[in-house]
Amino acid sequence: MNTESQARQAISDLLAEYSLLLDEDRLEAWLELFVDECEYRIVSRENVEQGLPNIHIWCKGKDMLADRITSFRHVNEYNLHWARRVIGPPRVSAQGDGSWQVETSYSLFQTNLEGVSRLFSVGRYAMRIVPVDGRARLKQVHVIADTASIPTLLAAPI
């Protein structure tokens, strides 16, 4: 990842992995895209625009994020569905410390087990991405959901 084009390729690969691992319900593999000292947070744009700090999900550190997945797997009940997200082209800005700030839009659809689809959430990702052993890894993922009024419930990561 010495050149900018290598970095962009690594980031693009990471976003593709991020998206497909979640859509394939491989949450444990998705977790491994994060460094240990990470932060994952879902907020709604309605709150951000008003300067209000309320969260939907806030995991400080990989353990808290792992717990969300454990709870999803074993305890929480939710509407059974397949997820499918479409992530737009990223805006990448190199930071002085060797990390990248990456912003991109997403649309997330849910399809129930009888094949009926709905739009579940739209919004944007603001990510801090760092190089680890030649690959891009997630240091921080902030999901800012335009869809403040969450249909049914939010159980799995966006």
């Binding site: 709604s44 309605e46 969260i55 305890v75 009940e77 969450i150």
Partner: protein, 418 residues
């Protein structure tokens, strides 16, 4: 047409499914309940602190604006232009001395009074409103507003009991408890549930489901049947309060009680990070769970150190929004604010202990839609008279909800339990 309900029993232990799915029932509920003799939650005073501040809210499915006038007084009015019915305020909140409808620029002050009609006198002797047009007769429809310790309630009814009487002893006491010092608003959660609004009122009065549907509650002792606690109602059984005392049982008590209950396992979930769950008894009354629920659209919820109000906003007969306002106190330290925010992982549409209600209500709504001649069975905790309990294996408060609903709707059975 007069609504007629053939109740199988007079104690509401059977509720016909068609009551959740009928357009005429829904229309009458909006008229006789939400626009009838009840006090509806509107907003928190802390959301409109300065003169001119306003917020949009809902009373049933009627859009309402809550606003503070220049003199500091609080007002609420229907957000529908007195001219041709257009939406006047189109943002969710803001600060303005006047509200102008964009369609024909009719202008209202922050109490909803009509203060401007463009070309009212016409132009060059032509057009204009009739000479006897009286702006005072064309204000935005007003609600009566009462402020109880910083919680704003409104009503369309000319005559009904005072707000303190309506809230009853525990309603007053619990609001005072939550509102004992100035608030800091942390923000909002919205959850759109595909179900009839009455399912949510039942859910809030159903202490039986809490530790069965929400397994997280059981594992971490936040709310489970083995804790000391109970349900309280007002005299009319329309409001209720679910409550539980922190650390009033042990993991072993819970293991014994839930052994053999299919689907729930006390020790299944093993979190790596549990520090965010910690709770201090800041109210000094031992309760880590308190959820006073006020008919027809309001509750306050404390779960450990999270504090919220929740407003029920019906969106037609087949869906409703849960609008939740999370708060702390103005004197919270930055560390305590961060703790409350981390603990908000528990509640809301993504909450570890609350998300499941959305799915439970949707599966009930979907399946009862096509079973109009069948009934629910509401017998946990017993039949007959509706009473407070010092345990929570009860559905009594659900029957209480239906008794007051029936009274307002004019459909009580002969010899109805109240």
């Amino acid at each position: 047409m007069t609504l007629r309900v053939d109740w199988p029993r007079n104690d509401y232990s059977r509720v016909p499914y068609w009551l959740y799915h009928d357009e005429a029932v829904y229309a009458q509920e909006m008229e006789r309940i939400f626009r009838g003799p009840v006090w509806n939650y509107l907003a928190l005073e802390a959301e409109v602190p300065r003169p001119g501040d306003f917020r949009t809210t809902w009373v049933g499915d009627t859009p309402v604006v809550v606003s503070r006038a220049a003199d500091g007084s609080l007002h609420a009015f229907v957000n529908r232009c007195a001219h041709r019915g257009a939406q006047v305020v189109r943002t969710t909140h803001g600060n303005a001395a006047e509200h102008v409808c964009i369609y024909h620029r009719w202008c209202y002050d922050s109490s909803g009074a009509l203060i401007g009609v463009p070309f009212r006198r016409g132009l060059k002797g032509q057009g204009g409103m009739p000479a006897d047009f009286d702006p005072a007769q064309h204000r935005l429809t007003k609600l009566r507003v009462e402020n109880f310790h910083g919680v704003l309630f409104g009503t369309f009814a000319e005559r009904l009991e005072s707000l303190p009487d309506y809230l009853g002893a525990f309603g007053r006491g619990m609001i005072e408890r939550f509102m004992h010092k100035p608030l800091k608003i942390l923000g909002y959660h919205r959850q759109m549930v595909g179900g009839n609004w009455k399912f949510y009122n039942e859910n809030l009065r159903d202490t039986y489901h809490a530790s069965l549907l929400h397994e997280f509650f059981v594992r971490y002792g936040v709310d489970r049947a083995t804790q000391k606690g109970g349900v309280k109602m007002d005299e009319r059984h329309r409001h209720n309060m679910n409550h539980a005392y922190v650390a009033s049982d042990t993991q072993d008590d819970a293991r014994a009680a839930y052994a053999g209950q299919s689907g729930v396992e006390v020790d299944r979930l093993q979190l790596r990070h549990t520090a965010f769950l910690k709770h201090e008894d800041r109210f000094a009354d031992g309760m880590n769970l308190a959820a006073p629920t006020i008919f027809p659209n309001f509750l306050m919820v404390q779960i450990n150190d999270t504090l919220c109000t929740r407003q029920l906003r019906p969106k037609g007969k087949d869906s409703f929004e849960i609008f939740q306002t999370a708060f702390g106190y103005a004197d919270d330290s930055p560390e305590l604010t961060e703790h409350r925010l981390l603990q908000l992982n528990l509640v809301g549409p993504a909450g570890y202990v609350s998300m499941e209600d959305g799915e439970a209500i949707e599966i009930a709504h979907r399946m009862t839609q096509v079973a109009s001649d069948e009934f629910s069975v509401i017998e946990m905790g017993g039949r007959g008279p509706i009473a407070d309990t010092t345990h929570r294996l009860t559905e009594g408060p659900i029957r209480g909800f239906w008794s007051y609903w029936s009274e307002l709707m004019g459909v009580e059975p002969a010899g109805a339990v109240r």
